[in-house]
C-alpha cells in the first residue's frame, strides 16, 4: 500500500492548494443594449436569421400582434424582441412600452461551458461562447446549467439534433472590423458593439450623463460573474423578464467541489488504499482463524 501512503500525504495539500480562478478572456468583446432606445422594429431578428441561415422570424413584416405573447429564442431564432408594459405612460398618457431583445449573454465564465460533458462548448478569446456540434452527444446538460434558459434544442431531429443559440456572429466578429448582424442593422443604435471594457465604460457614462433617465443597474456587469452582453434600462430589470441572479460566477461552486475532491484523483486513491488496508487486515484475521481451527483440530 505504498501508493496509498504517498497519496495520503499529497492529498490534503492538493485539495487546499487549488483556488478557483476565473477563466474569462482578457480584452474580449461585448455589446451594450440600451433599452431606452429600442423601438421594437425587430430588424435585428431579420438580420440574425439571414446571417445564421435560419427561417425568417415569426410574422416578419407585422409587429402588431407578434408582441401579444412572450417569445423565447428557440431552435429557429437566436434572438427575439418582446414588449413589456411597466406602468409607465407616454406624454399622451398611453402605456409606454419597453422592448427587450433577448439572446445568449455570452457569460464571462459560462455555466454551459463548465457543464458540457464533451467540451463541445467553449469560451473563445474574443468573448463568444461557441458550440461545436461535432463533439456534442446531446445530453442537454448545458441547457440545465444555463441561468438564462438560452440554449434551445432540435427535439424533433431523431439522429443528429443540435443545441442552438446565438453565436455572437463568431465568424463576422473574428474578421477585422466585423460587427454582429443585429448590431450592424439596428437603425436607432440601441446595440453598440466593441470591447467589453469600453461597453461598460459607455454604459456608466450614459448613466452619469443622463441623471434620472436610467435605473442604476447595468445588467450583466456583475450577474453570474459578468456577461459579454450588457443592458441599461429606464425600467427595473425584474419587470422586464430578466432573472435576478447572484454575482458569483455560475460554475465556481461546482468546479471548486469537483477539483478539491478529484484533482490528481487523490481522494479515490486514498480510499482505495484505506479499503485495501482494511481488506488486508480482515483477510488476515480470517486466515489466522482458519489456521487456529486447523491446529485445534489436529
Amino acid at each position: 500500500m505504498g501508493v496509498a501512503g504517498a497519496s495520503v500525504a499529497v492529498g490534503p495539500s492538493v485539495a487546499q492548494g487549488e483556488q478557483w480562478r476565473s477563466k474569462a478572456p482578457p480584452d474580449s468583446l461585448g455589446c451594450l443594449i440600451d433599452l431606452t432606445r429600442c423601438i421594437g422594429c425587430r430588424k435585428c431578428e431579420d438580420a440574425c436569421s439571414q446571417v445564421n441561415e435560419l427561417p425568417p422570424p415569426e410574422k416578419q413584416s407585422c409587429d402588431c400582434v407578434v408582441f401579444d405573447h412572450k417569445r423565447r429564442p428557440d431552435e429557429d431564432s437566436f434572438t427575439v424582441v418582446n414588449r413589456y408594459f411597466s406602468g409607465k405612460l407616454t406624454e399622451f398618457d398611453t402605456p409606454d412600452p419597453t422592448f427587450v431583445k433577448t439572446q445568449c449573454m455570452h457569460c464571462q465564465d459560462p455555466a454551459c461551458v463548465s457543464a458540457c460533458i464533451a467540451a463541445a462548448l467553449s469560451k473563445q478569446s474574443n468573448g463568444a461562447v461557441k458550440y461545436d456540434a461535432s463533439k456534442c452527444i446531446g445530453c442537454r446538460y448545458c441547457m440545465v446549467a444555463c441561468p438564462f434558459e438560452i440554449p434551445a434544442y432540435e427535439y424533433h431531429d431523431p439522429i443528429t439534433p443540435r443545441v442552438r443559440k446565438c453565436t455572437f456572429c463568431y465568424d463576422r466578429i473574428s474578421k477585422e472590423g466585423g460587427v454582429p448582424g443585429c448590431a450592424a442593422i439596428c437603425p436607432v443604435e440601441a446595440i453598440t458593439f466593441g470591447k467589453r471594457s469600453d461597453m461598460l465604460a459607455l454604459a456608466k457614462n450614459r448613466l452619469k450623463e443622463n441623471p434620472g433617465k436610467y435605473v442604476t443597474h447595468i445588467y450583466g456587469e456583475k450577474e453570474v460573474g459578468g456577461t459579454a452582453w450588457l443592458y441599461i434600462s429606464s425600467v427595473d430589470f425584474d419587470q422586464l423578464g430578466f432573472p435576478s441572479l447572484p454575482h458569483e460566477p455560475a460554475p465556481k461552486l461546482s468546479e471548486t467541489i469537483q477539483h478539491s475532491l478529484f484533482s490528481y484523483l487523490w481522494s479515490p486513491l486514498v480510499l482505495f488504499g484505506v479499503l485495501g488496508g482494511i481488506m488486508g487486515i480482515s483477510g488476515r484475521k480470517k486466515n489466522e482463524k482458519k489456521i487456529k481451527e486447523a491446529s485445534d483440530g489436529a
Binding site: 445530453c139 443528429t160 467541489i257
Partner: protein, 400 residues
C-alpha cells in the same frame, strides 16, 4: 451458515414473465418512435425543461438503487463480514443489470446516441457529468468482470452451445478457465475499485445540479448535495437487498433470509440516521425550513420525502419487533427505497424551476412507457439469469 448459491431451474414462462414481456414490447414501441420522430415526438421535454423522467428515474434513480452492489461487497468482502455473503451475488446481479439499464436509458435520452463515446476523447474535467460518465463506464466493466466467476462456476469446461455456435465451445471454455484463474488471484482489486468508483459517481450525481443552483428550489439547493447523495446511496443499499431478496424468495419459494436481513437493518439505522441528521442539519443551517409550509407541490413533495421516506422507516427500524419480522423489515425497506426514489425525482425534476419561463413538466405517455419497459426488461433478465446461473441461495431441501 453454509452458503451455496445455485441455479433455480424453475419454470421460466409464468404469468409474471408474460406481463413483463408486455411492458417490454410497449416500451420498445415508444423507443422506436423516439428514434423515428425524435425526442420531442415522445416526450414533454422543452427548451426550459431539458431533463425529465428519463434522467431523473432511469439514470439518477437507477444508479442510486444499484447501490446494493457496492455496499454489500464492501461489507462482506472488504470488512470481512462473510456472514453476509449469501446476499452479495443477488446484489451484484442487481447492480450489473441496474447499470446496464442506466446506460440503455442514457442512449435513449441523449440526442446523439451514436456519439456517446465522444467524451472519451474530449475531456472536460470541470464537468461533474463527465466524471459521472467515466465512473459509470469503468464501474460497469468492473461489475461484468466481477460476474465472470459466477458464469465460470456453472459453465467452466461445460460450454455447450447449440448448432453452428458450437465452434466457439473450446474457445469459451478456455476463456472461462483462464479468466477464472486470473480473477481468483486479482478479484480484490476489482472489489475495491468497484466500491471506490461507486463512492465517486454516487456523490458526483449530486454535484450535477449544483451548477444549476439558481434553478433549484431552496429546500434542495445546498452545496452538500454530493454528500447527501453519497450517504443516501449508502443507506438505500441494504434496504434494496432486503427488498429484492424478500421478493425473490417469496416468488421463487426459496429460503426466507430474515436471519441475514435483520442485522443488515441495524446498520441501516445508523446510515439512514446519519442521512437524516445531515438533511435536517442542512435545512437548519441554511434556514430553508421557512419554505416548509408554503403548501405548493414542491414543498409538499419535500415533506413527503422526509416524513415517509426517511423519518418513518428510521423510527420503525428502532423497534426490535419490526427488525425481526419479515413484514416489518420489508415495509421499512420499501419506505426507504421510496424516499430515495422520491429524493432523486425531487432534485432532478420537482425542484427544477426555470427562472424566466417557469415552465412546468409532467412526463408524456411515451416517456412513462419507456421507463416501465426498461424496469420490466431488467426484471425479465434478472429472472432469466437466476434461473440458469448460481446467484440465489438454493432452497433448504436441495441444499442439505
Amino acid at each position: 451458515m453454509e452458503h451455496k448459491p445455485s441455479p433455480l431451474r424453475k419454470k421460466f414462462w409464468t404469468p409474471g414473465t408474460f406481463v413483463m414481456l408486455a411492458f417490454i414490447v410497449a416500451g420498445g414501441v415508444a423507443i422506436i418512435a423516439r428514434f423515428i420522430g425524435g425526442i420531442g415526438y415522445v416526450t414533454n421535454l422543452s427548451d426550459s425543461r431539458p431533463w425529465g423522467l428519463w434522467v431523473g428515474v432511469d439514470v439518477a434513480t437507477g444508479v442510486a438503487l444499484a447501490a446494493g452492489g457496492f455496499t454489500t461487497a464492501a461489507l462482506a468482502h472488504i470488512f470481512g463480514r462473510h456472514y453476509y455473503e449469501p446476499v452479495t451475488r443477488p446484489a451484484l446481479l442487481t447492480a450489473l443489470l441496474g447499470y446496464t439499464f442506466v446506460v440503455l436509458g442514457l442512449l435513449v435520452d441523449i440526442g446523439r446516441s451514436w456519439a456517446i463515446w465522444k467524451p472519451l476523447v474530449n475531456w472536460n474535467t470541470n464537468s461533474a457529468l463527465f466524471e459521472v460518465a467515466m465512473c459509470v463506464m469503468v464501474y460497469l466493466t468492473v461489475l461484468y468482470i466481477e460476474f465472470i466467476p459466477i458464469v465460470a462456476e456453472q459453465y467452466k469446461g461445460k460450454v455447450n452451445l447449440p448448432g453452428i455456435l458450437s465452434v466457439f465451445n473450446g474457445l469459451l471454455n478456455r476463456f472461462l478457465k483462464i479468466a477464472d484463474a486470473i480473477l481468483d488471484k486479482t478479484m480484490w482489486v476489482f472489489i475495491i475499485a468497484g466500491v471506490v468508483l461507486s463512492c465517486m459517481h454516487q456523490s458526483s450525481l449530486g454535484t450535477l445540479m449544483i451548477i444549476a443552483h439558481t434553478k433549484i428550489h431552496p429546500l434542495w439547493q445546498t452545496p452538500i448535495l454530493p454528500l447527501l447523495f453519497l450517504v443516501s446511496a449508502f443507506s438505500v443499499g441494504y434496504p434494496m437487498v432486503v427488498f429484492e431478496t424478500t421478493l425473490a424468495s417469496a416468488s421463487f419459494k426459496g429460503d426466507s433470509e430474515i436471519g441475514i436481513l435483520a442485522p443488515l437493518t441495524r446498520i441501516t439505522i445508523f446510515l439512514l440516521g446519519a442521512y437524516m441528521a445531515l438533511k435536517l442539519g442542512d435545512m437548519w443551517a441554511r434556514g430553508s425550513y421557512k419554505y416548509l409550509l408554503d403548501g405548493n407541490y414542491q414543498t409538499n413533495s419535500f415533506i413527503v420525502e422526509m416524513l415517509m421516506g426517511v423519518m418513518a422507516p428510521w423510527t420503525m427500524l428502532l423497534f426490535e419487533k419490526v427488525r425481526t419480522s419479515r413484514k416489518g423489515v420489508f415495509t421499512a425497506s420499501a419506505l426507504i427505497i421510496f424516499g430515495v426514489v422520491l429524493n432523486r425525482i425531487n432534485v432532478f425534476i420537482v425542484a427544477y424551476t426555470p427562472p424566466v419561463t417557469q415552465t412546468g413538466y409532467f412526463p408524456a405517455v411515451g416517456e412513462i412507457l419507456t421507463t416501465l419497459g426498461f424496469i420490466a426488461g431488467l426484471m425479465f433478465i434478472y429472472r432469466f439469469i437466476v434461473t440458469w446461473l448460481p446467484v440465489l441461495n438454493a432452497p433448504k431441501e436441495v441444499c442439505s
